[in-house]
């Protein structure tokens, strides 16, 4: 499949632009799902997905096959969405970490199925990059290499970030219920 896609890319770069439709059909839903995690409005998410594919088409010659095409388009979709969100000037709550907080306490809160509504609310208050990281890791179950590539992170830092996000989620949940 990878080789076929490489050949297809070579053909597109050779002037057969219409062949790009294959990538739109195949990876469109995946990129859209990724964008709509951060942008809940259907129309905005559609436009951003389209922007990502147009950018991918214009930079197709830079696709070196370092990752699969799907991961590459997800990275472009992610960066497109993040810059759009920056322009929207969204505000996110910043919460100071509490060093005395035990991991067991955090883990049990995140495993408590009775607090899903609080957890959903807390997730929406995370920064976009944090939301994307937990989505890619816990929901999409992507490999660490893919996550690192999409979010442009060092693979070694992912575990630390996830740990920090889990603690932040717990504090946000506490903040919400304490209000």
């Amino acid at each position: 499949m990878q080789t076929d896609e490489q050949q297809l890319i070579a053909r597109i770069l050779d002037g057969h632009a219409e062949e790009f439709g294959y990538f739109l059909e195949r990876y469109g839903p995946e990129a859209f799902a990724l964008v709509s995690r951060l942008v809940p409005q259907q129309q905005d998410a559609e436009e951003l997905t389209q922007d990502a594919f147009v950018r991918a088409f214009n930079r197709l010659e830079t696709f070196g096959g370092r990752s699969s095409f799907g991961t590459w388009i997800c990275r472009i979709a992610y960066t497109t969405t993040i810059s759009w969100l920056r322009k929207q000037r969204m505000h996110y709550i910043s919460i100071d970490d509490q060093p005395q907080l035990s991991d067991t306490e955090v883990d049990s809160a995140l495993e408590d199925e009775g607090r899903i509504t609080d957890l959903r609310q807390a997730i929406t208050q995370l920064k976009p990059d944090e939301q994307m990281l937990i989505n890619l890791f816990y929901y999409d179950e992507r490999s660490l290499a893919d996550i690192a590539y999409i979010l442009d992170l060092e693979p070694g830092t992912i575990a630390t970030r996830l740990h920090r996000i889990r603690r932040k989620l717990y504090l946000l949940m506490k903040h919400e219920t304490g209000r």
């Binding site: 632009a17 219409e18 790009f20 439709g21 739109l24 059909e25 469109g28 839903p29 859209f32 799902a33 709509s36 995690r37 259907q42 998410a45 559609e46 997905t49 389209q50 594919f53 147009v54 088409f57 214009n58 991991d103 883990d107 995140l110 495993e111 408590d112 199925e113 607090r115 899903i116 957890l119 959903r120 997730i123 937990i134 989505n135 890791f137 816990y138 929901y139 179950e141 490999s143 660490l144 992912i158 575990a159 996830l162 740990h163 889990r166 989620l169």
Partner: protein
């Protein structure tokens, strides 16, 4: 050991270690779908942008050629303008060379118009 650490220690393991509530909270409540004409509309947009980019490139090329030509003529005129003008005047005084110059100008205009017409015709054929 935290769930992510468990997963990181055995990278290929299935994330049955993910916190169940977190995973459920991340599941979209209303799954969204791309419209069925997404590929078509995106291809149309790509085509439109390609045409626009080509037009921009053509304009940039034309402006560059015009600027370079004007600069070239200006530099040429600055250094040799007076000499050219003087020789031009002396040539025009002789009436037999006037006919030659006028016929050359006529031919050049004719070929320029012919070139313009052929280019337009070719552009129409390939659209």
């Amino acid at each position: 050991m935290k769930p992510e650490d468990k997963k990181l220690s055995t990278i290929n393991c299935q994330p049955s270690t993910s916190p169940s509530a977190l995973r459920q909270a991340l599941t979209p409540t209303e799954p969204k779908r791309l419209p069925t004409n997404f590929a078509y509309t995106t291809m149309r947009r790509i085509h439109r942008e390609q045409v626009e980019a080509e037009r921009r490139e053509r304009i940039i090329a034309l402006v560059t050629i015009a600027v370079v030509s004007v600069l070239g003529i200006a530099v040429f005129g600055y250094f040799f303008g007076l000499k050219i003008w003087q020789s031009f005047r002396t040539t025009f005084i002789q009436s037999d060379t006037t006919i030659l110059i006028l016929s050359t100008l006529f031919c050049l205009t004719f070929f320029a118009l012919l070139n313009h017409w052929l280019a337009k015709r070719q552009a129409k054929t390939y659209v």
